[in-house]
């Protein structure tokens, strides 16, 4: 592929990769918010439904795992493509 044939979107690829990194960086703060804030809000109270609270935390947990898995995989793939070019 010579220079003229290169896609105009090359720039946007790099841009996208950087935004994915931003998302990766943001993820733990999202996690802290959804784990810590409810903990503080519940403080001192007896939860109305223990199983409900438990299900909430497990749900948050699995969502975090999925988001990390997706973002990391996309990051790894895009990162490799960018390196190859």
């Amino acid at each position: 592929m010579n220079k003229e044939d290169r896609p105009v979107f090359l720039e946007s690829d790099g841009y996208r990769l950087r935004r994915i990194v931003d998302a990766l960086r943001f993820l733990p703060f999202l996690g802290i918010f959804f784990v810590v804030v409810p903990g503080i809000m519940l403080s001192g109270a007896v939860p109305r439904s223990l199983s409900g609270v438990g299900i909430y935390f497990f749900a948050i947990w699995i969502v975090l795992i999925l988001l990390t898995a997706i973002l990391t995989r996309v990051f790894a793939k895009r990162g490799k493509e960018t390196e190859e070019q």
């Binding site: 007896v46 939860p47 438990g54 497990f58 990390t68 898995a69």
Partner: protein, 890 residues
């Protein structure tokens, strides 16, 4: 369920672990052994027996709070891009061997700092090891209570001891088999990965059995949960946040986690998988904790130990097989933790405490690598034994189960004190050694004072009074209410104070102190690790690498030698070709061979350039620079020496020329002297024959002939005298007697007495005539006479004149003799002072060519010299002598 069966299964399981570890060690660098899955599974050493059994107990006592222990690490892994990525890169770049090594390395390779971190790690980890021993022991006991016949586990201590010994044996066997430069242990990691699977499956199996076998599905569990005693507990927000933070910290700072996460990491990319896979593992591990706790509470008799619900629930339901599986899961959790923790701790203890001591005591040369390597392995083994011994000791000391239950979190809080120094070190270039030391010691002291020491219970290490009223009744120093802040949970209280004081001291001391150059370099290297390094891929050996290494090695140590090294290694690896696999062992050996030629640092840098396993560190570069400087120095010395040699060679050449010349002179002289001796001899003989044989010789003739004979005899005597004189002078047998006299007086006396011949006129310049010298007057006169005589004999000017100039130059007295003849040709000036030298035989009669040689000898004896003065119009000689004659040497 027989207890004998349990023991047999345990042994079989351990044998399986041995086999797996051994096979993995043998397999070496095979691809799948280094997959991200293995890496993720090895991270599960985080889940110890405290997790396996304790989480359920925790849930039964405090509800959902147990989740924090897993949510904290999840947050760290979800945020891997921030901290873990950097830690792993730094670990690989700097060839870090432990968390203590990292801290010490960051702060300018300070061993004192490493010792502090090591001590903290040992203190923080020992109770945790004790906890593992206890849990395995308790699980044996749980079985023996329900079993029929077989052994009884009444003696808990004995059981724990045997477990400790067994674990030490396994760890020593696989943790110290070889001394890998990167501190990686494939065998152990594989065994840990297998154990990770076993404990996960065991817990899941028990969970599934409990939910769908004992209870009636998820709905039933939820209903029972909301109806249980746990549901009426208040939610403690402070502990929730504090514990989440603590667990997040622990996953970074625990020595064993650092070991598997950073040190054993074989490929940075594995982290990208572990970032989601490890939280998923934790998720699966905690999924059934709450159901098991709830079912245990509702179905088992009052007073059952909730820490053993995982075992006792299947046992109560008559599921012996499942209980056995659960037992193996708990056993796996405990053993994997103890093995990794003791490897990590022993690395630290041996590298930072025992080896420095060993080297200091033996004063051995560190370059004797063979001996030192063996010593390192030995200290590792001793350290492992010591660490497990400490754990067992703590187990015996604390004994009661209640004290141990809280130990997990106390340990976490202890190792968390490393966090400010660690995170500050890798993100802030301004962090200094003094900051780290102050923070670590401050934080650790507060931790020990507010949490660790009180944990031994009231009346344990701290008296009841002490705890209630503070030391000496100082209220605001109460260990559980520092600065009068009351009513906090003890753990949260200790955590807040220790971490904040730690961070405060670390920051302030860093700000006011000044780092040394090494610290600043290391700081820049670590903080900007991604700018200084190319992303290293997995260290996977390939043929190309081996070939490149061979090419390089040939260049350094020569083709045949290099091939030999490679072939021997290939044979040891069981390969037929000439190229061995570039295993760490082989590269290690190659590096050592090469370092024999180019120095250790250069060898390391060259090899890692090809293997790419690690980038060149500042330390390496500095060492290379050192070596280069040494070589430069050496080559400078060589250059200087070769210059010296050139000069000496030139001098030798000159000396040789002179000798050759002299030898020619000597040959000439020999014929000369025989001629000289022969001439007078001939006339003596013929005239004496005439006197004897001829009769009737007149009176006048007799007188004439006799005086000829006499003259010739005198001439012979003079020649012989000269020869004798020079021989005496040269052998240093002459004695000189000094007397004080002025220069003028000497010259006057000589010129009065010497035979000047018909033509020679002497003119004097008397500048220095008044100088009083202390010298052997006779000898000095001899020299002067000789010079005047020479002038008379050899000055061929029509009106020969000799100018005698006296003077002083510095300390020396000078007399110049300058005639108006044709002088001495430049090529002959070198040899005129040699014995038997005569420039020509014209009018040379009566001289043996010894005159100037004798002069030189005399002048040197007096501590002066005689030299030819060029450029004076004729032949000119300069006598130089000290005012006071040098003491005569015999």
């Amino acid at each position: 369920m027989s207890i004998n069966l349990l023991i047999a299964v345990s042994f079989a399981y351990v044998a399986l672990l041995f086999a797996v570890a051994f096979a993995a060690e043998r397999a070496g660098n095979r691809g799948w052994l280094r997959s991200p899955i293995i890496y993720t599974l090895s991270l599960s050493v985080y889940c110890t027996a405290w997790t396996f059994y304790g989480a359920v107990g925790y849930a039964a006592r405090s509800g959902l709070e147990f989740l924090t222990i897993y949510l904290g690490p999840t947050l760290v892994f979800v945020g891997w891009y921030w901290i873990l990525r950097k830690l792993v890169r730094i670990g690989r770049m700097q060839r870090v061997t432990s968390i203590a090594d990292l801290i010490s390395s960051r702060y300018g390779k300070s061993n004192a700092l490493a010792v502090i971190v090591t001590m903290m790690a040992v203190v923080g980890t020992t109770p945790y090891i004790a906890l593992q021993l206890q849990s395995v022991t308790l699980s044996f006991q749980a079985f023996s209570e329900t079993s029929s016949g077989g052994w009884r586990f009444e003696d808990l201590n004995g059981t724990a001891l045997w477990i400790a010994v067994g674990l030490a044996f396994f760890t020593i066997l696989f943790g110290t088999r070889n001394l890998d430069t990167n501190e990686r242990h494939h065998g152990v990691v594989m065994a840990i990965a297998l154990e990770a699977i076993v404990k996960l499956l065991a817990l899941l199996a028990v969970g599934i059995f409990v939910v769908w076998g004992i209870a009636g599905g998820l709905g039933d569990i939820a209903a029972r949960m909301d109806a249980s005693a746990i549901a009426s507990q208040k939610f403690n927000g402070g502990r929730w946040v504090g514990l989440t933070f603590l667990a997040a910290t622990a996953i970074i700072c625990l020595p064993r986690m650092f070991q598997v996460m950073v040190v054993e990491n074989s490929d940075e990319r594995h982290l990208k998988t572990a970032a989601w896979a490890f939280p998923l593992y934790l998720f699966a591990m905690s999924l059934f904790v709450m159901p098991i706790a709830v079912m245990g509470l509702s179905t088992l008799p009052e007073g059952s130990n909730p820490d053993l619900f995982v075992l006792t629930l299947p046992l109560a339901a008559g599921q012996g097989g499942l209980a056995l599986f659960a037992f193996l899961g708990g056993f796996s959790s405990a053993t994997s933790m103890v093995i990794v923790a003791s490897i990590a701790l022993s690395t630290m203890v041996s590298n930072h405490i025992m080896m420095p001591l060993y080297l200091a005591y033996t004063k051995s040369n560190a370059s004797m690598s063979g001996d030192v390597r063996r010593a390192i392995l030995m200290t590792r083994r001793i350290s492992i034994g010591a660490v497990l011994g400490l754990g067992y000791g703590y187990f015996r000391l604390s004994g009661s189960g209640e004290a141990l239950a809280a130990i997990g979190l106390i340990s976490f809080a202890g190792v968390a004190q490393v966090l400010p120094a660690l995170i500050g070190g890798i993100f802030w270039r301004g962090a200094t050694r003094w900051g780290a030391v102050a923070g670590l010691i401050g934080g650790f002291t507060i931790w020990a004072y507010t949490l660790f020491l009180p944990s031994f219970g009231e009346g344990g290490l701290m008296s009841v009074m002490f705890l209630a009223d503070g030391p000496w009744g100082i209220h605001w120093l109460r260990p559980r209410a520092l600065f009068g802040i009351d009513g906090l949970d003890p753990l949260v209280h200790a955590l807040i104070w220790s971490m904040s004081i730690n961070t405060f001291l670390f920051t302030v001391f860093s700000l006011v102190s000044f780092p040394n150059p090494m610290e600043r370099l290391q700081g820049a290297q670590m903080v900007n690790v991604f700018e200084h390094s190319i992303a290293p891929g997995g260290w996977i050996g390939s043929r190309a690498e081996a070939e490149d290494l061979l090419v390089m090695a040939q260049r350094i140590i020569g083709a045949s030698e290099a091939l030999k090294v490679f072939q021997v290694s290939a044979q040891e690896q069981g390969k037929t070709g000439a190229l061995p696999d570039p295993t760490p062992q082989f590269i290690d050996r190659l590096e050592r061979v090469l370092s024999g030629s180019v120095g250790a640092a250069t060898a390391h840098a060259m090899v890692s350039q090809i293997t790419g396993g690690t980038a060149v560190s500042v330390q390496d570069l500095m060492a290379v620079a050192d070596e280069t400087a040494q070589m430069k120095e050496y080559s400078n010395q060589l250059e200087a020496k070769s210059q010296e040699l050139t000069i000496i060679a030139r001098q030798l050449g000159e000396a040789n020329d002179k000798l050759t010349n002299l030898s020619v002179q000597k040959d000439a002289f020999l014929s000369q002297i025989s001629h000289e001796l022969r001439t007078p001899m001939t006339s003596i003989r013929s005239f004496s024959e005439i006197l004897r044989d001829t009769s009737g010789i007149g009176e006048g003739e007799i007188t004439r002939y006799s005086s000829i004979i006499h003259d010739e005899t005198m001439r012979l005597t003079r020649i012989l005298d000269d020869l004798l004189d020079i021989s005496v002078l040269e052998n240093g047998q002459v004695v000189m007697t000094a007397e004080d006299i002025t220069l003028g007086a000497v010259l006057d006396k000589v010129t009065r007495n010497v035979n000047l011949g018909p033509d020679l006129k002497i003119s004097r310049q008397r500048a220095g005539d008044g100088i009083v010298i202390s010298t052997d007057v006779g000898r000095l006169s001899q020299v002067i006479i000789n010079l005047i005589t020479n002038a008379r004999k050899y000055c061929i000017a029509k009106q020969p004149r000799l100018k005698i100039v006296t003077g002083q130059m510095g300390d020396m007295v000078v007399i110049d003799f300058i005639d108006n003849g044709k002088g001495i040709p430049a090529k002959s000036r070198d040899i005129i002072f040699e014995k038997f030298s005569r420039l020509s035989d014209e009018s040379g009669a009566g001289s043996a060519g010894l005159g100037l040689a004798i002069c030189r000898e005399i002048m040197e004896r007096m501590g002066g010299s005689i030299a030819y003065l060029p450029g004076q119009g004729g032949a000119a000689f300069r006598l130089t002598m000290p005012q006071k004659m040098a003491a005569t040497k015999h």
